[in-house]
């Protein structure tokens, strides 16, 4: 690891001041991603700002009945929170599907939003990588790309975002709260992460001198209560998603799809919110056929790079599995209600 100075501010204002005063400073949350990347030489901050003492570790109710999750809330605390489990089930499932208990205990909500890709070529500094060194090239395209993107990728980068939690947050229409020298602002979750384009080194709308303070969930609904997260991977635990799907359904009185949320992980540079497929489903039948068609629509313009070609058929199948489970939950809930 490259030497750095260590700072441990007690307030958000102090942390912002440290970021403003020290170019090359980075925020350290749980460290589950950053420490690894520093050890590999992928990240070489001159200054490390340890945010653990900042008062951002609470989950609280919002005025409208939603939840405000502080940026330092651990994955474990988030997933175990009674209201998350009850009202935003897909978020609890997604978070618990990620990593291991040891990592979830350390990993923070804010850090999860900012975690870097698992692309092999990004995490080993010996390779060229447009994300690490803009303009150096992307060896993944004609290299080994089994874990890489099929949607929204660019000539410069085909990396995927590795988070499970973020997939659910995108589907739940969460809002990211940010503070910076210019004050506070909010960003809808689906807009927080960026597609790679020509600047894969810029992954989110967060500026270097800003801090994520919280993620807010809108008030719960039947849809969010009956939602589901399905993760497909190479081993049954402790592995990143090849394809994952966060799905929620609300049924109308006629059994048709009244409302739906759908987001995919493992397929793109960001959690892939499938707005078009949602529109396709809304008002239509809640059937396996409809679910498969919606899944097919998502990958209609997908591109494979060889090793990841299988994600193109796998994604719609996983969408159908997830929507099927969400449907079963919705039907069980309406059955219970009767």
């Amino acid at each position: 690891m490259t030497p750095f100075t260590y700072h441990k501010p007690a307030s958000v204002a102090d942390a912002l001041a440290l970021l403003a005063d020290r170019p090359g400073a980075m925020l350290l949350g749980g460290g589950t991603n950053l420490v690894d990347l520093m050890r590999k030489g992928v990240e070489t901050p001159d200054h490390l700002v340890d945010v653990q003492d900042l008062p951002l570790g609470e989950i609280s109710e919002t005025d409208d009945g939603g939840l405000r999750i502080g940026a330092l809330v651990s994955n474990t605390a988030l997933a175990a929170h009674d209201r998350v489990r009850r009202d935003y089930r897909m978020l609890s499932e997604a978070t618990l599907a990620g990593a291991s208990q040891q990592l979830r205990n350390r990993a923070t909500t804010g850090g999860n939003l900012l975690q870097r890709t698992r692309c092999y070529y990004f995490t080993e500094p010996g390779y060229p990588c447009n994300k690490r060194e803009p303009g150096s090239g992307c060896p993944a395209k004609d290299g080994f790309n089994r874990i890489h993107a099929i949607l929204g990728e660019s000539d410069a980068c085909i990396a995927t975002h590795p988070s499970d939690m973020c997939v659910a947050m995108s589907a739940l229409d969460a809002v990211v709260e940010i503070t910076g020298p210019g004050g506070d602002r909010t960003v809808p979750f689906p807009d927080f992460h960026l597609l790679p384009g020509d600047t894969p080194n810029v992954e989110t709308v967060l500026e270097p001198d800003e801090i994520i303070t919280a993620v807010t969930l809108p008030p719960p609904s039947d849809l969010s209560r009956q939602s589901v997260y399905v993760k497909v991977r190479d081993r049954q635990s402790y592995a990143f998603a090849l394809v994952s799907v966060a799905a929620g359904l609300a049924l109308g009185a006629d059994g048709q799809v009244e409302d739906v949320r759908l987001a995919l992980g493992g397929v793109a540079h960001k959690p892939w919110r499938a707005f078009d497929a949602e529109s396709l489903l809304r008002g239509g039948p809640a059937s396996d056929d409809a679910f498969r068609q919606a899944g097919q629509a998502i990958v209609a313009d997908a591109t494979g790079y060889g090793h990841n070609d299988f994600k193109i058929p796998l994604a719609p199948r996983t969408v159908a599995v997830a929507l099927g489970k969400a449907l079963a939950r919705a039907q069980r809930a309406s059955g219970d209600a009767r």
């Binding site: 030489g41 060896p139 081993r235």
Partner: protein, 788 residues
Amino acid sequence: MTTTQTTPIIGQATRRVTGPLKVSGQATYAAEFSKDFGPELAHGVLVTTMAASGRISSIDTEQAEAAPGVVKVFTHLNAPELPYEEPVMRPQVQPQVGDPLRPLQTDQIFFSGQTVAVVVAETLEQAEHAATLVRVTVDETAADTDLHAAHQRPEADEKQDTPRVSAPKKPAENGKMTGRPSDVTVGDPDAAFESAAHTVDLDVEIKTLVNHPIEPHATIAWWEGNTLTVHDKTQWVDNARHKLALAFGIRQEEIDLKVDALNTVKDAVEGVLGVQESSVRVITPFTGGGFGSGLRTWPHTFLTAMAARELDRPVRLVLTRAEMFTSVGHRPHNLQRVRLAADADGRLQSVIHEGWQETSLYEEYTMNLLNTTRMAYATPNLRTTYRLVPLNIQTPTSMRAPGECSGAHALEVAMDALAYEIGMDPLELRRRNNATHDVQGTPFSSKHLAEAYDLGAEKIGWADRPLAPRSMRDGDDWVGLGVSSTFYPANRMKASASARLLPDGTAQVHSAASDMGPGTYVSMTMVAADTLGLPLDKVKFALGDSDFPHAPVHGGSMTMASVGPAVKAACEAAIQAVIELAVDDDASPLAGASADDVRLEHGELIGPGGRETLMAAVARHGEPVEATASLGPNKLQALMPSDYAFHSYGCVFARVRVDARTGEPRVEKVVAVNDVGKVINPTTAASQTIGGVVMGIGMALMEEAILDPNFHRYANDTLAEYHALTNRDAPEIEAHFVGEPDYELNPLGARGVGEIATVGTSSAVVNAIYHATGARVLSLPATLDKLL
């Protein structure tokens, strides 16, 4: 009153004597002897190259040397030239052809990940940082890591200057079954194949697998004058000592005598060089796994000792997990073509098995890829052809059942395919071709495979299985059952042990063996206690010190079969020494008896005129009574003339589920039944079997080190992306044993468990996947993309 043991110990399920140390973290592994040193201990970190081929054109260490805490940066430009002598006859663990990699002695780059510098600093953090500051420039030449393309090239002839496909240059003598002959032909396999009623012809691929013990390889080395002491993660302290002595030109009588005992190089005794006072000692009481990665002594060990000598202070060096992919060997990528032919009744008529396996550009690593095929089933016609393909990779090494595991996988998948071609139950096909001797006509020493089939079939519920694939569905899953036979040669080599009986009623037994997990500590303690008639807690067995009596390599499943008899013999010799003392001692009830008339029973010496306990006699003597024994063949048993072919046998049954929608495969249950001769400790034998099955499932479903085709480097070189099984992936596993003691092999009748436990699981799993889904996965691992 001394305590004796009146009930048998061998064969009883017994807890590990190391258990309390291991569960409390107090077992000391190589790197952890850091606690014996203060700040004098310096930390070494390797610098490795990205480039996969070429020569180092420049190496800039200026920045690294200026970094805080750096003691020295060693490169090929400033490292001392070391003798690196090679033994006249190399140990089996080392390739017989080619020269080992000697980093910092050359500017040549053979593969990506090769060590090009060692940074030594006061602290680990300083060394790690400084290592990132070394700038290496390589004048690159084209590298080749494409086995698929390379194996199709014409075979080598003597005049070629570029490496080509070739048969091993030094096949084992006399073409014995368990040696490494390249080609064997029996009968007319081609004609028999052409005319047979049923045939299959399969191309099978097994990708690179990496041993990945959870303990990374590590070395601490220090010199006191000309004396080198090393803590090194190894499965063979004696060989590590030998190789270090040769590397540094240290030869002295004592080492050469030990070499003589190894019988690897008698000639060396005549070439005594170096300083008489100098010596090398390797001390490794605990080895955190290895599965073959600790058989050889690898470059980092020599480099650590070199740095310690140059700096005149102890140096510690631990490989990173990424370095574990390219520094300590791997199971080589291989391609196999299997052709099987059977008559209408399912009797094999022809077996043609060809294998192409990668090796490095500087050494010819060979493994027993096709040996199983030459003994597994009865067939009148057979051909095996084994070819090596040199590529820009490190030299592969043995990984748990090297060769057999890969070769048997292909054979057993082909047997499954043949059964379906015939329309016959795959288990019945195996029963029908069960052999009594190998293809060269040598009978097996003791074989109970048929019983294993019966027991396994009963435990997994084989009889209820419909033959047709894709015929069992449960909810969203296809369900399937698969079977594979397992085989592994039983081996043995000369081993020695000492037994020291103390007046306090306890015994100390020593051998320079290793325990990377199978339970050598407990099983040898059991053998000694059983022989001496003492309770387990009165016997202290120690291993992992090259000053102890010689032991062969802790590999090839031969520790129990080799060291066990030596321990037994040493204890018997010590008993004999006590008898000699007692019959000469007027105070003994045995006084005046002929030593020949005294026997030991349940810890008691019984003579014609009286009896006393063994340890009472020792106590009265007042001095320790010590004896050593050495026995076993000088070379691998398999290479010795014998009336028998020695093997272990068994079968694995697997039940799998494959998600019909996502293709995710999951193993639900495995039953492994093995005939391994006498089982010394059922507890640890079962654990070894279960562990082997777990590794086999990994091979079947997820393990694969992937070479980037352009950079020739393993892309997924982390444990996050190279998937070993997690607890969640490990199914219910039953381990059963059948058979009887194999006294033709050794006086304990034990044949060893470690390797056969891994053989067959991968084939049983992919055969079960075929039964579940109808998809015949020929290229491992069987990841979900192959099952969609």
